[in-house]
C-alpha cells in the first residue's frame, strides 16, 4: 500500500512537472517558453524597449493601483524579477519608441518619457497626445502603432455590432448610411509628437472596420496591417437564415493591408470564407448569398470566425527559424460567439510572408493558453492571449488579460 501511494505521488509529481513544461504551452519543435510574469493584472497590449524592458498596459488598475507595469529580467533566466508600475487608468494600447512610451486609455493617448534605464520620468504628468475620442462602451479600447515617420495610428472601434438602428436587436434594420463611420469604425492617423489632438486634428485613415485591436506597421511594405473582429450573432438575429453551426463559422476574422482612404466594408458586408466573397449583411437586405461591398477591400487572410484577433506583430528578429522572418504572429483571444458550440481559438497563430505578402496558409504557433483547447465559455480559460511583443534578442512575448500572465517564447536549437 505504501509502495502504491508513493508510486502515485511520483506519477503526480511527474505529471505536474510535465504540465508546467513550457509554462503549459504547446509549441513547435525546438521552441520553449517560460512564465515571464504572472498575476500582474489584466495585461492587454505589451511593448518592449531595446534593452529588453517590457511594459504592459492593463485593462484596469491592478491591486497595487497601477495600470502600466514595467518588467525586467536582469539575470536573463526568462522570468522578470523586477516589477514596478504607474498610471491609474485602464486601457489597451502601449508602444515604446526609444525613450518615449505611448499608452492609451479608452478615449485618449498619453506620452511618457523614459530615462536610459527605461524608468519612467513623468509617471503622473504625461503629455496628452490625443484626447476626446469616442468611448461608448462597446469596442472602446484604443490600439496604437506608429510608422517610421512618427505618425500614430489609433483604432476607434464601432460602438455597435452591425450598425442597426437599435444595436443587437432582433428585426432592427441597418442604418444607411451608417452614421457611426464618421467618427468610429476605422483607423485614425495623428501626429505622434503633437499635443492635444482630437478628431479635428486627425485624419480618418481607413474605414469600414468594425473593431481592430491588432495592428502593426510593416517595414517591408511600408504600410499598415490590421486584423478585424467580424460581426456577431447572425443566428441570434436571423435564425431563419443562419443556423447555430453556420454562425459558429461566419463571418471570418480578417487581416487587411490598409492604405489611406481604404474601406473594408463594415457594416454593409461581411466576409464569408467558404464562398470566398463579401456578403451583404442581413441588416442591409442580405440573404447569406447576395454579394456587396464592390469598393471594399478583400482580406489578405481569413481566419475562423469569432476567435478575436487581439494583436498583430511582424517578426523582425533572427532568433526564430528562417520561415518566421517577416511573417505575422496574431494573438487570438478565443471565441464567445460560437455558442452553443464549444468555444475555441485561445492561441497564437502565424502567417508566413514573403515580400510583404502572405506566402502560405496560417497555422497555430502556440496553443494551450486556455488549459483546454475547447470550453463552455471564455471565463473558464486559464489565459487569453491579448498582446505580443518581440524582444531585442528575437524572443516573442505574449500577454494574457484574464489572469495577467506574460509568456516568453524562445527558439533553442
Amino acid at each position: 500500500m505504501y509502495k502504491l501511494s508513493s508510486l502515485l505521488m511520483v506519477c503526480a509529481f511527474a505529471f505536474t512537472a510535465q504540465a508546467q513544461e513550457n509554462a503549459g504551452l504547446k509549441l513547435p519543435a525546438g521552441f520553449s517558453a517560460t512564465l515571464f510574469a504572472d498575476q500582474i493584472g489584466a495585461a492587454r497590449h505589451i511593448s518592449i524597449n531595446d534593452k529588453g524592458v517590457l511594459f504592459a498596459k492593463l485593462n484596469y488598475p491592478n491591486k497595487a493601483g497601477q495600470s502600466i507595469v514595467r518588467m525586467e529580467d536582469a539575470n536573463g533566466d526568462g522570468i522578470a524579477e523586477k516589477l514596478s508600475g504607474w498610471g491609474n487608468y485602464g486601457g489597451t494600447g502601449i508602444y515604446v519608441k526609444g525613450n518615449q512610451l505611448y499608452a492609451s486609455s479608452d478615449d485618449a493617448v498619453y506620452l511618457y518619457q523614459l530615462d536610459a534605464k527605461g524608468d519612467v520620468i513623468n509617471p503622473t504628468s504625461p503629455k496628452t497626445i490625443i484626447k476626446n475620442l469616442h468611448s461608448r462602451r462597446q469596442h472602446a479600447s484604443k490600439s496604437i502603432t506608429l510608422d517610421p515617420k512618427g505618425n500614430i495610428y489609433v483604432n476607434i472601434g464601432a460602438y455597435s455590432n452591425a450598425c442597426q438602428e437599435k444595436d443587437r436587436s432582433v428585426g432592427s434594420k441597418g442604418m444607411m448610411p451608417c452614421p457611426i463611420l464618421d467618427s468610429a469604425g476605422g483607423i485614425w492617423q495623428f501626429d505622434g509628437s503633437k499635443e492635444n489632438q482630437s478628431y479635428a486634428e486627425g485624419k480618418r485613415y481607413a474605414t469600414g472596420l468594425r473593431n481592430v485591436i491588432g495592428l502593426d506597421w510593416n517595414n517591408t511594405t511600408n504600410s499598415l496591417f490590421v486584423t478585424q473582429h467580424g460581426r456577431d450573432q447572425l443566428n441570434t438575429f436571423y435564425p431563419a437564415m443562419y443556423t447555430d453551426a453556420q454562425n459558429a463559422e461566419l463571418p471570418a476574422e480578417t487581416m487587411y493591408e490598409v492604405k489611406e482612404g481604404d474601406d473594408c466594408g463594415w457594416p454593409y458586408v461581411y466576409y464569408d470564407p467558404f464562398q470566398k466573397k463579401k456578403i451583404l449583411s442581413p441588416e442591409y437586405g442580405g440573404d447569406g448569398k447576395l454579394e456587396g461591398g464592390k469598393n471594399a477591400l478583400d482580406p489578405l487572410v481569413a481566419f475562423p470566425a469569432h476567435m478575436a484577433p487581439m494583436a498583430l506583430l511582424f517578426y523582425k528578429g533572427n532568433q526564430f527559424p528562417a520561415k518566421y522572418k517577416e511573417g505575422a504572429f496574431i494573438a487570438f483571444h478565443g471565441s464567445w460567439n460560437r455558442a452553443p458550440l464549444p468555444q475555441e481559438g485561445y492561441f497564437v497563430a502565424f502567417v508566413p510572408f514573403k515580400n510583404g505578402k502572405p506566402s502560405g496558409e496560417w497555422e497555430i504557433f502556440a496553443n494551450g493558453f486556455a488549459g483546454e483547447e475547447k470550453n463552455k465559455g471564455p471565463r473558464q480559460a486559464k489565459a487569453r492571449p491579448c498582446g505580443l511583443a518581440e524582444g531585442p534578442d528575437g524572443s516573442l512575448f505574449v500577454s494574457d488579460d484574464s489572469k495577467g500572465a506574460i509568456f516568453k517564447i524562445s527558439f533553442n536549437q
Binding site: R137, S169, N337, A339, P340, G377, R379
Partner: protein, 135 residues
C-alpha cells in the same frame, strides 16, 4: 386512529413535496429551453458570460439577490448601459425580450437562479406581475 391520521397527513405532506419538486423541475426545464434559445449565445453554457463584455449569471450577486423587479425589467426591456457587477464592468448591449410572457420570465429566472453554482428562491408568475407594477 390518531396514528392513522398522522400517517395520512405525513402521506399528504410527502405528496405535496413530491409534486412541488415536480413543478420546480418542470419550471426549470422550461426555463432551460428559454435560456438556450435566448440567453446562452452571450451568457454562455456555463453561465460565466464573457469577461468585460457580457455579464456572468453564475455567481452574480444581482442574479441571486432580492431585487427581482430589476431582473424582470432587464429581461423584458433589455439593457443598454455599462453595467458594474461584483467589481467588474460589462459593455455589450443586451437584447430586449418583449415577447416573453410573465410565466416564461418566471421559469427563466427560476432556472438562472438555480443553475451552475447558483442557489436562490424560485420565481413565480405572481412575482413577475408584481415586478411589472413596481415599474
Amino acid at each position: 386512529m390518531q396514528k392513522l391520521q398522522l400517517k395520512f397527513s405525513f402521506f399528504v405532506l410527502l405528496l405535496c413535496l413530491i409534486s412541488s419538486n415536480d413543478i420546480l423541475a418542470q419550471n426549470m426545464q422550461k426555463g432551460k429551453k428559454i435560456y438556450e434559445a435566448k440567453c446562452l449565445a452571450c451568457h454562455q453554457a456555463d453561465g460565466g458570460g464573457v469577461p468585460n463584455m457580457n455579464a456572468p449569471l453564475d455567481g452574480a450577486s444581482n442574479v441571486v439577490g432580492k431585487d427581482i423587479a430589476r431582473l424582470v425589467r432587464i429581461i423584458r426591456y433589455g439593457y443598454n448601459e455599462r453595467v458594474a457587477l461584483d467589481g467588474f464592468y460589462y459593455s455589450n448591449a443586451m437584447t430586449a425580450s418583449p415577447d416573453l410572457k410573465d410565466n416564461e420570465i418566471a421559469d427563466l429566472l427560476t432556472y438562472i437562479r438555480n443553475s451552475w453554482s447558483n442557489k436562490a428562491s424560485a420565481i413565480t408568475m405572481a412575482q413577475v406581475q408584481a415586478a411589472k407594477k413596481k415599474k
